[in-house]
Symmetry: C2
Subunit: 373 residues, 2 copies
DNA sequence: CTGAAAGCGCTAACAG
DNA sequence: CTGTTAGCGCTTTCAG
């Protein structure tokens, strides 16, 4: 007699732990020895409740249970409630891994973001999440830390969960990452930026135009001796594009940055802005305005000015990017460019789920004239 | 002839829209038709490459491919490279859904957080992620918005992905949520707070003690007419506990809050702090210090003072909670309580994966005496 | 060192 | 309306 493959254990199924100790918080003296499902080798192996258990308890077939639980197909009210009751009593939690494999369509959505330094990414995610949740999807997230190779690895890893769609930040990816996204067979949304070639759906605003708008604003306000303070933008491609746009306008007007300072920190930060401005001013280049890679840095610069009694914008004008909530709450609201991040996330997620054609959505940006220019 | 079961569809799946107007960036000449797929079975159905395809191409059995790909079990160098080559050529991306189902152990970790308003949660997640990633785990995240029922739903939903562990914020959950966490059979980590009854592993710091320490600090500095500015703390239980601790100390000293202001906003925010302080001061209660539910609020209050030339701390002292980076970069560093968030995340994730016994880890906090008290 | 085959838990035809 | 059954793609015995 052959006995290949794994044999189904016949271990006695311990009564489905009815945890419901009810009776309130405090009490609850359940002895739970060492949690983790009593992996106690052999002996009493704790098995998780399956649809089969529910079916048996309700005295019906598995498929009927499946129908009821997914609320799909018609089932008599009587059977339905019988099943629901059984499921509840057994504390049944469906196994979506199995469901996904069987149905070949998952309720997982992959998301790869560059960082979670400031609130920009979280805000976008909040928008995305609103939509996903309403549609019953669960996000699987990866953080690349502005590292293209890490991003590539994350994409591969996430794709192996066979998500129904994937959202990534920006348009720049390694060739292999792009190839994977192209070939994975699911919708791809690239968020935040629209300057470049997209894969499928692109939702964002032009970084270059934002940079240009910032420069034009400063020039229109007669600032001419402009400096730049940024973080390490080798990885932050979008910050680089803004800088490029800004610089282009300067050039078109026969100008250039008078001085600039790059903070070696990878992530943008308030501190980088503070330090950068301090250094720049120490060099006495006679600046009348500073353009920052984003609001975090601008905020830092602004704090430096506040502390050192540098009158803004009389002595020095400041301009950032993002339009973070905090920038309109500082003693003087900061001049910046605000992007509709939550909306961007919602739009992206909606397009991802909607199944429409590939598109590019420019959500635009708004130049916020604060009191620092 | 019976033909039950599902027949494999032959529907032509539309090729994953190649938005690409080609011409791409530099290289990209790789003929990679369409990544991971196109096993163009019969017809032109875009089928995803499976382990079977790799096995066939390499002329070996599936199990051998599995062994090589998981780097588990011994395989001759020759076969190994043959397989690796085949997998590469086919652009094979393993299906972890299937793998998880078969092995009954996933590389997914569930995470449920209350919000992503400020950087507190992202920082904890960063710590968690560092550890998870290094161990090859992928986080599945849910955001509860400080809503216990939503949290319960999220926990259930996440548990249905059969994660190998789950991290949640705080110790307060609905009875059903707690029951699910207890009975799910995997390790559970409760982060941020340690004041209460934990389920399995608890990593955080005492909110109550933090509140007490704040009060003691202010009293020690002779502030007596203290006010409170907070957001809607019905949902933010931890803020409530801090307030409770603070108030307890006041009572023990025969004092009480002179006045208080709760901003109806659910999430904490800089604006709530600004508005709250403005209202409080308008009532002229002769306050000499204000305790905030957290740094966001404190920051808002500080900005109000800066704008209205209220000398801090001479006219008014301010005290927050969290120790966000920005609080030490404002013109005057804010007095606050700093918690080791990244470390907390790391510790939590490590314990989750390590398989040790249930424990409670108090990561403590540090009272940062800034310039606002 | 390698292959065959039996499931993992669930979904989706298909046949009552 | 409901049960039966054949997989989903992979892992894991078990037998060469």
């Amino acid at each position: 007699m052959k006995k290949p493959g794994r044999k189904k254990e016949n271990t006695a199924l311990p009564p489905p732990r009815s945890l419901k100790g009810k009776k309130g918080s405090a009490a609850e003296a359940t002895p739970v020895p060492s949690f983790q499902a009593v992996s106690a080798a052999n002996g009493d192996r704790t098995r998780v409740v399956t649809i089969t258990d529910v079916a048996q308890r309700a005295g019906v077939g598995e498929s009927t249970v499946s129908r009821v639980l997914r609320n799909h197909g018609s089932v008599s009210q009587a059977t339905r409630s019988k099943i629901l009751k059984a499921a509840d009593e057994l504390n049944y939690v469906p196994n979506r891994i199995a469901g996904t494999l069987a149905s070949m369509s998952s309720k997982l959505i992959g998301i790869v973001v560059p960082s979670v330094g400031n609130t920009v990414v979280p805000e976008v995610l909040a928008g995305v999440n609103t939509v996903l949740e309403a549609a019953g999807f669960q996000p699987v997230i990866g953080v690349s830390n502005y590292d293209a190779l890490r991003e590539e690895a994350l994409i591969e890893s996430i794709l192996s969960w066979r998500p129904s769609g994937i959202l990534v930040a920006g348009l720049e990816h390694t060739d292999r990452a792009r190839a994977m996204l192209r070939g994975c067979g699911v919708r791809v949304v690239e968020l935040l930026d629209i300057d470049g070639e997209g894969i499928d759906i692109v939702v964002g605003s032009s970084q270059r135009m934002a940079g240009r708008a910032s420069a034009e604003h400063l020039l229109a306000h007669s600032y001419r001796r402009i400096g730049y303070v940024g973080h390490d933008i080798r990885g932050d491609i979008r910050a680089g594009k803004r800088l490029e746009g800004f610089r282009a306008v300067l050039h078109e007007n026969g100008l250039n940055f008078v001085d600039q300072e790059f903070h070696p920190s990878m992530a943008s930060s308030v501190e980088a802005g503070r330090v950068g401005v301090a250094r720049l001013l120490k060099r006495q280049s006679g600046l009348d305005a500073i353009y920052f890679s984003n609001d975090d840095l601008a905020l830092g610069g602004y704090f430096h000015c506040l502390e050192h009694d540098i009158s803004v914008p009389r002595d020095l004008a400041l301009f950032g990017y993002n339009g973070l909530e905090i920038t309109r709450l500082t003693p003087q609201p900061l001049s910046t460019i605000r992007t509709p991040r939550v909306a961007m996330g919602k739009v992206g997620a909606n397009l991802l789920l909607s199944g429409g054609p590939s598109t590019i959505v420019d959500v635009g940006f708004e130049l916020v004239v604060g009191a620092t220019t």
